[in-house]
């Protein structure tokens, strides 16, 4: 999962970037509205954390422009917590908002909810046959037993699990799992897929030659109407 953080306060931005990376997200930062807007257009982020008051382009203007082309989920951070501000914030196209100062747990939970909603996943635990991906605890179990996976392996599995039933190309994986500062030209991806297959069974992640990887949807995943 890749997150963009648009925040002009450097201390807060760096703190958030650190938090996101510790949580296993790939995170990019932008110090003002224009830079944030450019980055949001360049790359398909899984979510954007956007400060309401920004130099260059304020949060509302940012959203107005972004919504012309992108449906990326946006979490608005606002220091103003009046009803008018909250309504203005949501009506301008934000998917969620959080008032400053916030508690990190709440920010992370809301972010997970935004991402789940975006991928139409019902709850925090994704069931893939006998393998279960717990997106809250960031844990993987196979037949009820914890499987030790590295952060990167977990991120890869979680992304494929959210998109289960669909082929995910290698470039998509690179775009969503690595931030702008990481070297994406390495062949780390194959190593991680290989490790996951070794730990969770060779059949879980299938390779579609020439296009990418897929986790097949099980019957249980068919949305109940």
């Amino acid at each position: 999962m890749r997150i963009l953080i648009v925040e002009d306060e450097a201390d807060l931005r760096n703190g958030l970037l650190r938090l996101m990376r510790e949580e296993g997200y790939a995170a990019d930062g932008a110090a003002d509205g224009l830079e944030g807007y450019r980055k949001a257009l360049e790359c398909d982020y899984d979510a954007i954390i956007l400060d309401f008051m920004l130099p260059g382009m304020d949060g509302r203007e940012y959203l107005r422009r972004l919504r012309h082309t992108k449906r990326t989920p946006v979490m608005m951070l606002t220091a103003r917590n009046s009803v008018e501000d909250r309504v203005a914030c949501l009506d301008s196209g934000a998917d969620d908002y959080l008032a400053k100062p916030f508690v990190q747990q709440e920010l992370l939970a809301r972010l997970r909810a935004l991402i789940r909603r975006n991928y139409k996943t019902a709850n925090g635990a994704i069931n893939l046959g006998d393998v279960v991906v717990d997106t809250v605890a960031r844990r993987v179990t196979k037949a009820g037993h914890d499987e030790a996976v590295t952060g990167r392996e977990y991120s890869l599995l979680e992304f494929l699990a959210h998109r289960r039933g669909a082929v995910v190309t290698r470039s998509e994986l690179y775009a969503h799992l690595f931030d702008e500062n990481e070297d994406t030209l390495s062949n780390l991806l194959e190593v991680h897929v290989c490790n996951l297959r070794r730990k969770l069974g060779a059949e879980l992640i299938k390779t579609r030659r020439g296009s990418g990887y897929i986790i097949e949807a099980t019957d249980r995943d068919v949305p109940k109407v």
């Binding site: 201390d11 807060l12 510790e22 400053k100 508690v103 990190q104």
Partner: protein
């Protein structure tokens, strides 16, 4: 109470005035009319008396003969002739009286003790009349006027009565039936009463409408004030079509409401800004402390987190200090009137800031001449310090900051000029506003809370002075402070 309202009071006064005026006018009119009718009746009675006096002289012994020649002569058929017997003369006289007594007129002859000796056909019952006549004559006799006939006029039971008594024992009563006149007068009284009531009702209705019309602006003012009290702060009183005193009142109130609304908006804005400014460093503190406590960290990581937290706390301190200073200034206590000199204050500031200037590669130049003022030396010193620090920190290395003081006419002046990057025209208007920073990304390393220039402006204005700023992008900025110069003793 509804009857306590101005409209009802106006109506009550209107009613009282109208009722009094109508009553006085109509009663006067009625009395005048009645008087006229009575005089007319009296005239008729007297005329009748004159006409019948000749005949009555025959019928009532001692009444006296005819007075006027023609008037007193009875018609020829009943005129007494020479040679008529007394009975014939009396019969003729009676016929003459009957002939003359028309249109409600009548007459009586009587002795002084009330015994009727003659009675014309239309005469009323005498049971109550005679005692009255006797009593009247007795009263008149007590004021003696000997040798002259006595005439008394009075009204009795719808009759106008004239008692005629020549000196002697017998008297005659002449009367006129007033029934028609009474009927006319009572009809008139009713008509006048109805007319009066009509005038009062119409007058009060018009008064009610007029009072309502002239009081309508008060209703509008009241309803608008109620709406404002209920939280609709933007409301204005509709003053269309009201150009009287109430219209002026409404305009004044509108102006007051607008000013209060603007003041309220400023306070709301300021509170929101202050809250926002305090929340931002608070968020950093919370975020970094939570981040640091999530896992075990290296000492270096803890140090970095604590350093960030300390910076944020310092920023919060700067903001709350600034807000406190502004709040003190807003409270409006006049500054103390100590003797001080802007040149000394500038000199101190330049000395204090020499090291900071050196660190930032700025050149400080002071051209100081005496500029004595009265005021709070500490507060004015912070003003100078604040402006010089701004000039150093908000420009690149190599900038020259010139501080000049001197007296211009009645003013002590201080200018701080730099040849730095300048401020764009649109931002120039905003720099004295609270929490307005021209460039928010720069505020972090300069540690500004966005209150410095607002505090400077407030301090200068509290001392009765002005601060102006001129700037050209790329050429530099000049702040100029003018304070009333103190007279050197």
């Amino acid at each position: 109470m509804i009857f306590q309202s101005i409209r009802w009071r106006i109506l009550a006064w209107n009613f009282a005035l109208l009722a009094a005026t109508a009553t006085v006018l109509l009663v006067a009119f009625y009395r005048h009319e009645r008087q006229n009718r009575l005089q007319e009746a009296d005239l008729k009675v007297r005329q009748f008396m004159t006409q019948t006096m000749g005949a009555m002289g025959e019928l009532v012994p001692g009444l006296g003969g005819p007075r006027g020649a023609a008037d007193a002569r009875p018609p020829p058929a009943v005129r007494p002739r020479v040679g008529d017997s007394p009975a014939q003369r009396r019969l003729k006289a009676e016929q003459a009286v009957q002939l003359l007594a028309k249109e409600g007129a009548w007459c009586l002859g009587a002795t002084i003790d009330g015994k009727v000796t003659f009675r014309s056909s239309a005469a009323p019952e005498v049971d109550t009349l005679m005692p009255l006549c006797v009593e009247e004559l007795r009263v008149e006799d007590e004021t003696p006027s000997p040798g002259r006939p006595l005439d008394v006029v009075l009204s009795h039971r719808g009759q106008r009565v004239l008692i005629h008594r020549p000196p002697g024992q017998n008297f005659a009563v002449f009367g006129l039936n007033m029934a028609d006149t009474e009927k006319y007068l009572s009809g008139l009284a009713w008509r006048l009463t109805f007319a009066g009531l009509g005038v009062i009702v119409i007058g009060c209705s018009i008064g009610w409408v007029l009072a309502g019309r002239s009081l309508r602006p008060i209703d509008r003012i009241a309803s608008t004030a109620e709406a404002i009290a209920d939280g609709d702060y933007g409301r204005q009183i509709d003053t269309a079509g009201t150009e009287n005193e109430l219209g002026r009142l409404a305009a004044v109130l509108n102006d007051t409401f607008a000013k209060m609304n603007a003041a309220r908006d400023r306070v709301t804005q300021f509170t929101a800004d202050a809250s926002h400014e305090l929340r931002t460093p608070l968020t950093v503190i919370l975020s970094d402390s939570q981040g640091a406590l999530r896992h075990e960290r290296t000492p270096e990581e803890y140090r970095t987190a604590l350093e960030t937290i300390k910076q944020s706390a310092l920023r919060m301190k700067a903001i709350s200090d600034g807000l406190l200073e502004l709040a003190h200034g807003d409270a409006g206590a006049p500054p103390p009137q100590d003797d001080c000199d802007l040149a000394d204050l500038a000199d101190e500031s330049v000395a204090l800031l020499a090291r900071l200037a050196k660190e930032h590669g700025a050149h400080l130049v002071a051209k100081l001449e005496g500029a004595p003022v009265k005021g709070d030396a500490g507060r004015l010193g912070r003003v100078v310090l604040n402006l010089v620090i701004n000039a150093i920190l908000h420009n690149e290395a190599g900038v020259t900051v010139t501080v000049t003081t001197g007296v211009e006419g009645a003013f002590a002046c201080l200018t701080i000029t730099d040849d730095g990057r300048g401020i764009s025209e649109e931002n120039l208007d905003k720099i004295f506003e609270r929490f307005r920073r021209v460039d928010s990304t720069r505020s972090r390393h300069t540690g500004g809370a966005g209150l410095g220039l607002a505090i400077v402006k407030q301090a200068v204005e509290a001392h009765g002075g002005t601060i102006t700023v001129e700037s050209q992008v790329g050429h530099g900025t000049t702040f100029k402070i003018k304070l009333p110069a103190a007279i050197i003793t």
